[in-house]
């Protein structure tokens, strides 16, 4: 049985950022992810916002890690090469009554030491955001946007090139603890580890249950989003939030530009019984459009190119108000089990700071020694669509596949698809390609490029068409060749 110092369950943004922090040390680390790629749960399906810290109660872990994480983001973006834009955010008040709420948020922000907060007049906002009408708004300059999957993938791929083992499509089935080690049984073999990090997100309670009786419940809270075509990117410059609704501990339906130039409307907030219930509903899609129009009246209906939902991992029920702080702690009952529970918003922002905290916790039980050789893998941000003519010509000269555009909406070339498929995690679904190079993310939603990506997967990677998956272990795209069907 393979033996590790640290085993991490879950390769969302939390598991992946911890894996990266740990990859700096002389440790054997393994990550189990049941999805076909990292970032396949809540980490990919959110607003992609770098939060400023105005929404988290002072002295909470949420506030602390949000503030710390926020300050780490720029240097991470610089070294990994993922996109980040400090767009800032506006919380808009429609009337004098809502201004009270702006004042409250500003006070919380000041307490948390969020810089630059300013309540602006409707007229001033009109200059900044010509399509938004409001009475007053709170301007939050230190809020920004990233692509949540690009961020998570950057952590995971950097951890992988520094020798962290990622096992995809690997579900933890059972865990036993003996004197010194955890014995972890998966659908992909048995493993042994001294420390166990539970970063399983919505499944964190299931993992705890394998070792002890959990002292908490998970209340999954679904949030639906709709995605608008890039054509409408001119509608907003920064994020536009309403004053937070009084219930559920959420921030309300907001308008978020993405780093790629799309606009997101969402999320809704709806408590669901099943944490895997990621449906989108007609009612909510219409509602999101309606709420978007309340903020931007000229928002067109025809702009929608996709819809999705993510599920928040909440530790408080709706009756309790839906708000609870993070729990980042070593289990008292099961030593060496580090639990990360209820990591919902602002989890994306907080992740790099949480990872540092977890490393500190680990240093209590393992003597950590830094590696002398440590690689940084710049995210594969060589994007044809963003290059100068000279750069394009040079690359085509070196490899002619840079001259073959396969995604007509996003102008992605064959070379970029191949680079995406050759990622160090060996994630090879259609979504893995999409999240790494954007092929299939445009307005035709893969109508033109799917055939090319399938061809590339077959020719360059020798994958049988029956093995090609959309996004998860059993999401096959095809049933084989037409002439062989009856032999199935």
């Amino acid at each position: 049985m393979q033996n590790f110092h640290v085993a991490i369950v879950g390769a969302g943004v939390i598991g992946s950022s911890i894996a990266w922090e740990l990859s700096k040390y002389k440790l054997d680390v393994i990550v189990f992810e049941k999805g076909s790629d990292v970032s396949s749960g809540t980490s990919k399906a959110n607003s992609g916002v770098i939060h400023s810290g105005i929404n988290s109660p002072p002295s909470s872990l949420k506030a602390r890690f949000c503030m710390e994480g926020n300050k780490m983001l720029q240097s991470l973006a610089d070294s990994f090469g993922f996109s980040l834009k400090w767009t800032g955010k506006l919380v808009i008040a429609k009337n004098e009554d809502e201004v009270k709420e702006l004042n409250r948020l500003k006070k919380v922000g000041n307490y948390n030491k969020v810089p630059g907060l300013e309540i602006k007049d409707g007229k001033e906002i009109k200059i900044q955001e010509p399509n938004v009408t409001c009475y007053k708004a709170l301007w939050v300059p230190t809020a920004g946007i990233i692509s949540p999957y690009e961020f998570t993938i950057a952590f995971a791929e950097n951890a992988a090139v520094n020798n962290v083992n990622f096992l995809l499509e690997t579900e933890v089935k059972d865990i036993q603890k003996n004197e010194n080690n955890f014995l972890i049984e998966t659908n992909n073999g048995k493993y042994q580890s001294k420390l166990l990090i539970n970063a399983a997100g919505l499944n964190c309670r299931d993992i705890v249950s394998m070792l002890q009786t959990p002292d908490f419940e998970i209340y999954p809270c679904r949030g639906e989003y709709i995605v608008l075509d890039k054509t409408y990117s001119y509608l907003v410059n920064s994020m536009i939030y309403p004053v937070p609704p009084k219930e559920f501990g959420v921030l309300g339906v907001h308008i978020t530009p993405t780093v790629e130039g799309n606009i997101l409307l969402g999320p809704s907030a709806e408590f669901v019984d099943d944490s895997d219930d990621k449906r989108t509903t007609k009612k909510m899609m219409k509602n999101l459009l309606r709420k978007g129009k309340e903020i931007i009246p000229i928002l067109p209906d025809k702009a929608v190119i996709n819809a999705y939902s993510g599920v928040r991992c909440k530790l408080a029920s709706p009756d309790e108000g839906g708000w609870a702080d993070y729990r980042i702690e070593e289990s008292k009952q099961t030593p060496n089990l580090i639990n990360l529970l209820g990591i919902e918003s602002p989890g994306l922002t907080a992740a790099p700071a949480i990872a540092k905290e977890v490393v500190k916790m680990i240093s209590n039980s393992i003597d950590l020694k830094k590696k002398t050789v440590f690689k940084i893998l710049k995210a594969n941000k060589q994007r044809f669509s963003e290059m100068s003519s000279k750069k394009r010509s040079g690359l085509i000269k070196q490899d002619k596949r840079w001259g073959r555009v396969v995604c007509r909406c996003e102008h992605v070339t064959e070379a970029e698809v191949i680079n995406a498929l050759k990622n160090p995690l060996k994630a090879q679904t259609l979504s893995s390609v999409k999240y790494r190079c954007r092929a299939g993310m445009g307005r035709c939603q893969g109508g033109f490029c799917t055939q090319h990506i399938v061809r590339i997967m077959e020719e360059d990677l020798k994958i049988d068409v029956k093995e090609i998956k959309l996004k998860s272990p059993k999401s096959n795209l095809f049933y084989g060749r037409t002439r062989k069907l009856e032999n199935d």
Partner: protein, 425 residues
């Protein structure tokens, strides 16, 4: 190391550049050569010519145009051979990245970046299919959901089987033809769902593709829910009322692993918008005059990027006219424009083409009506004056109506828009 010189763009100077080598582009290129254009080039992003035709292996192509029924590949082949004979140059796997008002095009292929200067340009980019999100179909997001054209491509061009138990949403011709094709390949086609009270495809296709194979057609129905967290497991269909809202209590679950969407087509005009061509919000295509010249001088539009045609035959006939106009422009035979009137869609008309006229003489009009009509009278007005009254046997939104009308100099100089209407009598 790459040499400095090789980083330069490949420069070309031609008479006519056609963007897109589908049926419209082929027809326009041929016609441009036949009408005096010197060098004519066609750029296409695919590795083949003919656009969608090679995957349309059913027959019926050419009947209206030349009185012979051919398959899609045969029809394309006829055009390709003719184009080659006439010396049209094709650029394969070539993507147009930018289009400028001065008729310069930046395109890329495996040889490098190209800067192509043309005297005139023909837009023939075709269209794309509507997706699940254009109609906001709710539910989960499994694999196994394809647009009908994409599925047809996988089956006919790549011999890849997309599913075994299939439901099709939308009864357009592509959906009907793919239903039959899947049956031939051994799939169980469990039904075609149509939100309207009638099939939107041609009646002969309903008979030959569905009835002959006992494939049920559910009229006044839509998909209310998609189930499946990995591969599609089932869909729930439901009846709709006159407002196309779901009637609760009529839901019915159908187990299936594949859902094909035949929801309609959207003209592809990203390049047109980029260069500043005015777009008709109803057709989704460029605003054109009687020469199919767009609002940018010397740039013409044809085929499905101009308007979605009923059949390839009608599309090709139109595109030939456009190719001729582009050739004339390229060789300097530009028409003198006198006056300017807009053409407007009046009562009962969804859209009418061309949207503007700037020369007197015979004009060929295309239009679609808003509602089906058993009896119909078409009228053309200039202000209050009725200029044309024409009885039609019937009118249907699915069938494009064409007519010729002589626009006089007087009408052109009146500054009053031409209004086209349709009525029961």
């Amino acid at each position: 190391m790459v040499e400095q010189g090789s980083l330069k763009m490949i420069n070309l100077d031609v008479d006519v550049t056609v963007i897109g080598a589908g049926p419209a582009g082929l027809a326009a290129a041929i016609s441009a050569r036949e009408n005096g254009a010197g060098e004519v080039i066609v750029l296409d992003r695919n590795s083949w010519l003919g656009g969608i035709l090679p995957q349309c292996i059913h027959d019926g192509f050419g009947v209206e145009e030349i009185g012979t029924s051919m398959t899609g590949p045969e029809y394309a082949d006829m055009y390709i051979k003719n184009a080659e004979k006439l010396g049209v140059t094709f650029f394969y796997e070539t993507m147009v990245l930018q289009l400028f008002k001065n008729h310069e095009i930046i395109a890329v292929n495996k040889k490098g970046l190209h800067k192509i200067k043309a005297k005139s340009i023909v837009l023939a980019m075709g269209c794309r299919e509507k997706t699940r999100w254009d109609v906001l179909i709710p539910g989960e997001r499994p694999s196994g959901i394809y647009t009908a054209g994409v599925a047809q491509g996988f089956i006919n061009l790549y011999n890849i089987m997309v599913g075994k138990n299939v439901v099709i949403l939308g009864s357009g011709d592509v959906g009907l033809i793919v239903a039959r094709r899947l049956r031939f390949e051994g799939a169980n086609v469990k039904g075609v769902i149509e939100i309207l009270p009638y099939a939107s495809g041609l009646p002969r296709n309903v008979v030959q593709c569905l009835d002959d194979y006992n494939i049920p057609l559910y009229l006044n129905h839509t998909v209310a829910y998609i189930k499946g967290r990995e591969r599609l497991e089932s869909i729930t269909i439901a009846q709709v009322d006159e407002k196309m809202e779901i009637i609760y209590g009529t839901e019915k679950e159908i187990k299936c692993d594949t859902l094909l969407l035949s929801l309609g087509l959207i003209p592809e005009n990203e390049l047109s918008k980029q260069v500043g061509i005015e777009i008709d919000t109803i057709t989704g295509g460029p605003v054109v005059d009687q020469f199919f010249e767009t609002t940018v001088k010397g740039i013409f539009a044809c085929g499905n990027c101009l308007q979605v045609y009923d059949t390839v035959d009608i599309l090709s006939i139109g595109a030939k006219q456009v190719g001729k106009n582009a050739a004339k422009y390229a060789v300097g035979e530009t028409h003198e424009k006198i006056g300017f009137v807009k053409v407007t869609a009046g009562k009962g008309i969804r859209y009418v083409l061309p949207q503007q006229i700037n020369k007197s003489g015979k004009v060929h009009f295309y239009l679609r009506v808003e509602q089906p009509k058993k009896t119909a009278v078409l009228r053309v007005f200039s202000g209050d004056v009725e200029l044309l009254k024409k009885k039609l046997p019937w009118a249907n939104p699915a069938n494009m109506i064409e007519f010729d009308f002589n626009v006089s100099e007087k009408v052109l100089k009146s500054n009053k828009p031409l209004e086209v209407t349709i009525d029961d009598q």
